[in-house]
Structure formats: structure tokens, C-alpha cells
Amino acid sequence: MKKSVLLGAVAVAGLTAAAASAATLDDVKARGSLNCGVSSGLTGFSEPDANGVWQGFDVAVCRAIGAAVLEDPTAVEFVPLTTQVRFTALSSGEIDILSRNTTWTFSRDTDLNLNFIGVNYYDGQGFMVPKELGVTSAKDLDGATVCIQTGTTTELNLADFFRSNNINYEPVPIETNAEAQQQYLAGACDVYTTDASGLAATRATFEDPSAHVILPEIISKEPLGPVVRHGDDNWMDIARWTLNALIAAEELGVTSANVEELAAAPTNNPEINRLLGTEGDLGAMIGLDKQWAVRAIAAGGNYGEIFERNIGESTPIGLARGLNAQWTEGGLMYAPPFR
């Protein structure tokens, strides 16, 4: 594996994989930190706060995994990535997991040799326009100039939507959300399009959010989820079941406030007991200890808590749970059984 060190210098993308492909868990433990790829800054999803500490909905997934694996939610190195370089960074081994509002698609899952470990946000692509334009439907956008982030599903959906509706547009390709925001506010494009959650997050940072409307049309399905690379099933299991643990915890009423207490002694709900390791030893099956899920939940709370704290209705972003409610509440969040 020594070979690959020099190869990095050749700078041909994706050549350094060998070093990282086999046992990610061992690598992470040896390193003492988890390398987590996040977006380069999207309020509520991943953004450093005033103290330089990364916060957000996507960040929380990595913190939970860091807590489960390394017993320390702060032992996570966050690597900000643009949409264009994110998959290369993952397959080259620069990061261990990508948690960056990434849409689960067939070709990414197969042809790009990635594994989506689940969905942490069910989304769809929307459009945002300044209110003063008086546009009420995406079908009225004939001739509009549209800001899009390149290397996304967004730009493909957009092309399909406008072509199938027989309307013209002028795409303005952009690298990051921050740049798109600046171009949009300067009026260099009439419309900004991306995942509806991203639009809400972007709008929340505007000086006058009420001057902008998000159009009713949602033109695609964007199931967003964390991603790992092919070739390490154990690592995939750890990531997948940590996410599931957060979702199950909400369903079972386990929160960051009561998790210690519930984990102290077996309760009379066997599913909670298995999840928190007071009964059986699920942790051992994925190469971790009994307490892994307790730490993951304690790190930032269960799925519902993470949602509410970062992007929920009490935050400026103000997203309703909608599709992302628990299945028991009419949503799509449904963790397979812990047994």
C-alpha cells in the first residue's frame, strides 16, 4: 500500500484508493478521528458556528458515528467539499463518509461504486424567485436565467423539466451555494433552483426572506443520505445502523435527555433494551461495543431532536417534518427492527 503515497502526487483523481479501501473501521480507530465530507456551507445542514465548530443536520450524522466508533462526537474532521469533487474525495479515501445532502440515485449507487446507507432527508427540487417578479408557477419561467450548482442531480432535472415543458432557459453554472446566493441576490439570475430544503436554508440567511418565494412545483425526488464507498461492508453496516439507531430512538422515545437513564438498567421494552445494549449484544455484530448506540444518541439526540434543533419549525429555516416524520406519524422515516 506504500505505492499509493507517491501516486497522490501524480494528481490523477481517484488513484489513491487502495490505502483506504479495506478496513475503514481500523483506519478510523488508528487515526483517532473520522473524516467526514460535508458541504462547503449550508445553514442548518453543515456550517461552522462562530467558534469554528461544525453544526448542522448533516454534521450531526457524522458526530453520531464518531461517538459510536471513537466514543467521542468531537473526534470528527470535517472536510468541506463542493458538489463537483465530493464523490472523488470519497472514492479516493480522503473521507470515510460523505454526509452532504447527496441524492441517492441508481448510477451513483452502482456505477460510481458508492453505497447509500439510508435516507436522512426526503427532499425534492424546487425553485426560488424574488416575489417582485410575480411568478407563481415554474411553468411561467420561459426565458428565465437560472442559477444551478454544477455536478448535481439538480442540473440534470432542470434540463429535463424545461425540455419536457418546452420552455427555454439560460443556465448559469455555479460552484458553491454561497456563490449562487450572491449571484441570485445581485439579480444575475432570476431563479435559484436546488433541493427545496437547501432553498429554505438559503432563504433563511437573506436579509429579507419574505421578499422571495419558493414555487409550489417540486420537480423531482431527492432522497438525501450519507454515502460510503463500495468494498467495506462492515463500515457500511456501522454507518447505516447508526443512522437507523437515531431514527429508531425517536420512534421509541429515547432522547438525549433520557438515554443515560434508560441505558442504566433494562426497561420493559425489549427493543429499547437491544438498542441500548442492556439486552443482547448487537454492537458486537458490527465490531463495536454494547454502548455504541447510547453514545450516538447522546451525541446530538435522536433523529427528531436533530431535525428540530437544526432545521425544524422553531429555527429560521422552519422546515416542517412532512415526509420526514416517523412512519407512525404519516411520514417515511422507518427504521428496520433492532434484533
Binding site: 505505492k3 499509493s4 501516486l7 501524480v10 490523477v12 483523481a13 481517484g14 488513484l15 489513491t16 484508493a17 487502495a18 479501501s21 458538489t83 463537483q84 464523490f87 472523488t88 472514492s91 448510477s107 451513483r108 456505477d111 460510481l112 461504486n113 417582485e132 417578479l133 419561467l141 420561459d142 426565458g143 428565465a144 436565467t145 454544477t150 455536478g151 442540473e155 440534470l156 432542470l158 434540463a159 429535463d160 424545461f162 425540455r163 432557459y169 439560460e170 443556465p171 448559469v172 453554472p173 455555479i174 460552484e175 449571484q183 445581485a186 439579480g187 444575475a188 439570475c189 432570476d190 464507498r229 463500495h230 468494498g231
Partner: protein, 469 residues
Amino acid sequence: MTTQSDPPKRNGFRLSQLIYDTRYRSITLQVIALLLIGGGLFWLYSNTVTNLAAQGKDFRLDFLWKRAGYDINQQLIPYTSNDTHIRAAAVGMFNTLLVALLGCVFATILGIVFGVLRLSKNFMASRLAAVYVEGFRNVPLLLWIVAIFAIVTEATHQPRDFKTGDASMLFNESVAITNRGTFIPSPIFGAGWELLAIVAVLAIGAAIWLRKWSIKRQAATGESPMPIWLGIVLVIAAILLVYSLQAGLMFALLSIIKVAIIVAIAVIGYRVAKTFVPNVLAALIAAALIILWQYFIAGPFWGMFGFQPAFDPSVTFDYPELGGFNFSGGLQIRNSLIALLLALSLYTGAFIAEIVRAGILSVSKGQSEAAFALGLRANRTMSLVILPQAMRVIIPPLISQFLNLTKNSSLAIAIGYMDIRSTLGGITVNQTGRELEGILLTGMFYLILSLLISAGMNWFNNSVKLKER
């Protein structure tokens, strides 16, 4: 040349001779170097193959023929999202060629102007040139690109402002400068434009021939050659004449009369005024008379006749017009192109200015002194004596500047200009996950383009270098 002495007795070949015998040493070293390089390449290759296999990836190019699915804003050849990745790459390639070609032209012009200015005896001019050169040469290109892009998008109005009257179009409602780009009229080629094209080609050919002939005549008779501006005027006049004849006979006649009146006003005004005031003032008076006629009198005057000849030209213009969201019609020169082009040509121009300066300084002072002694004026000395000799010093480094500019155009990615790096090496790579293939192909494109440019420039160099007779 060898010294004649007894050749050393050959008593067989010893292995140590490979190192100690100067006859063999260089060969030995070359063989070792070859082995090392070959080994290194093989090692790189096998590593690539192993690592790709470890990632479950193979090396294939068939993705190029799959549907691209994304749109590109600036297209020199038709393209839709239904076309293939290879066509998207071609669109990007032409965009790269466009900005590289225009950039090289502008950079050369800037370089010559500022290179000469920097040597000027005029303090202001030479300081100005120095500020330009040092300012652009010493700040990274990427910063200039981003800064100029920010200026052209922030300092201009959005199309909406043209509706509310906060901004207005220039040049008789034909040009709009917005934060999305500059919209200018675009030509529409109607029936009969081919004739116009043929006339243009013939006129240019004739002008070149005339110029060459007049230079020969100068060698024979000493009469000075036809000035270049006269050639340009002749070409334009020929094209305009055919254009208006095509538009209608009456229209053509009327146009000729109109032009003749203006020329007459200018000539007579100048002649008459000259008898009272100095020449410069006379020229100003003539210009004022033309403006007075053209803007205040001509309209009512021709209106009196109430005669509008039919006008149906072969080439018409499509003017930009404010539509729902944006201007439509005309030609949109996007801000990404403007910013990239400006930054590339200003930056490279600064380097070329230094090359030009060095070239001029390399011509010995005696040359210009001799030229002055012969009575040549400063600008003729420059264009006839100094520059031709400076050329052989200027051209070789100029080639590398052109190559630099071409490759630097890949910084387009920073401002969303859709060059080949952004299409093939960017979106295509990202959507298909074929990093190695995409980046290699993009690299190969730049390699081939660079080789072509240097081949072309070397040919040019050979044709201008001093011919020893």
C-alpha cells in the same frame, strides 16, 4: 579533429570501461536513465491499473457517446441536453478556442502598445505603462479573473432595471450592458448575403494586392506605398456600395448623394475655414459643420422630399429587446466570457509588454540613430527599423505566452465559463464518475492545442526571422 597518436592497444572490452571510458560513459548513463524512466512509467501504469481495479473501476471511453443530460449556456455549435457527452466536450472545446484566440489577439495588442509606451520618453506614458505591467504581472491571474467578474456583475444593472427606467440601453437602443452580459445586435443573413461575402473577400484581396504592388513600386520609383488606412477605407466602401445596391437602386443612389453631401461639406468647410484660422481649428469647424448637418438639418431637409426609397438589404440586424425576464434577440456576450477574456488578455498582455520592451532594447541604439540621421520620424523608425529587428527576439518568448494564455483559460471554472475544463473535465466527469478518462482527455486536448500553436508560431517565426542574403 583527432590528435594523431598511436591508438591504444585494444586488448578486449572490460566492464569498467562502461564507467571510466568517456567513449562509453554517456551511452551507459543514457541507458540507465532510459531504464529508470521506463521503470517509473511502468510502475505508474501498473499502480493505476491496480488501484482502479481495487475501486471496481475500469478504463473505458464509451461514456462519451451516452446522453449528456445537462445544458450549456454558451454554444458555438448547436447542442441540447439530449446530445452526447462528446458533443458537450466539443461545445466546451470551441468555447476554449474562442477565448484563447481572442485573448491572444488582445494580449498581443496590449503588449505591443504598453511595451512601446514603457520605453517612451514621456514620463506620464512610461509610468502608466509601468503601473499596468507591474500591477497585472504581480497579482495572481485567478484573483484578476474573480475580481473582474465581480466588477462586471456588481457594477452593472440587472435586466429588470431596464423596465423600470433605472437603466437604459446605449447606442440608439441597440446595446444593453447588464449583469448577465452585454447584448448587442446580431446580423441576420438573408437572401443574397453570399454576394456580399464574395465582394468582401475580393475587396480585401484587392487591397492586399494593391498594397504589395505599391511597396514594389516604392522599391522601383521611391514613391511611398499606399497607406494601410486607405486600403481599409476602400474595402469598407466597396462592401457598403454593394450592400446598398442590393438593398435597392434608389436607396443606393440616395445614399451616395447623402455621403457626397457630407464629404462636400467637410472639404468646402475645411478649405474656407483654413483661410481664416489655423488648420487644427479648421478641422474642428469642419467636424462641427458635419455634426450640425447630420443631426439637425439633414432630417428635415430630406423629409421635405417625402421620399423613402425601398430598403431591403441582404444582411439585417436583430436588436436585443427586453422580454419577460431578460433581453432576447441580438447576441449575448456573457459576463463570464467578458471577465475571462479581459483578465487573460490584461494579464498576459503585461508579460508580452515586457517581452516587447526587451525586444526593442535588444536592437542597438545605432540603428535608431542611423534612422534619425536619415530623417525618419520616430514612429516610422519604430515601425520600419526597430520592430522588424526586434521581432526575432520577441517571437520565441511570445509563443510561450500564447501557450500560457491558452492553458490559463481553464481557470474559467472559477466564474462558470463553459470551456472544455468545465464541460468534459467538469460536469461530464462528475456525472459519469469517469475522472481518469475525462481528465486525461482534457489534458490531451490542451497538449494537442499547445503543440499546434507552437507549430504555427514557429512557422511564423521562420518567415519573419532575419534572412541572410
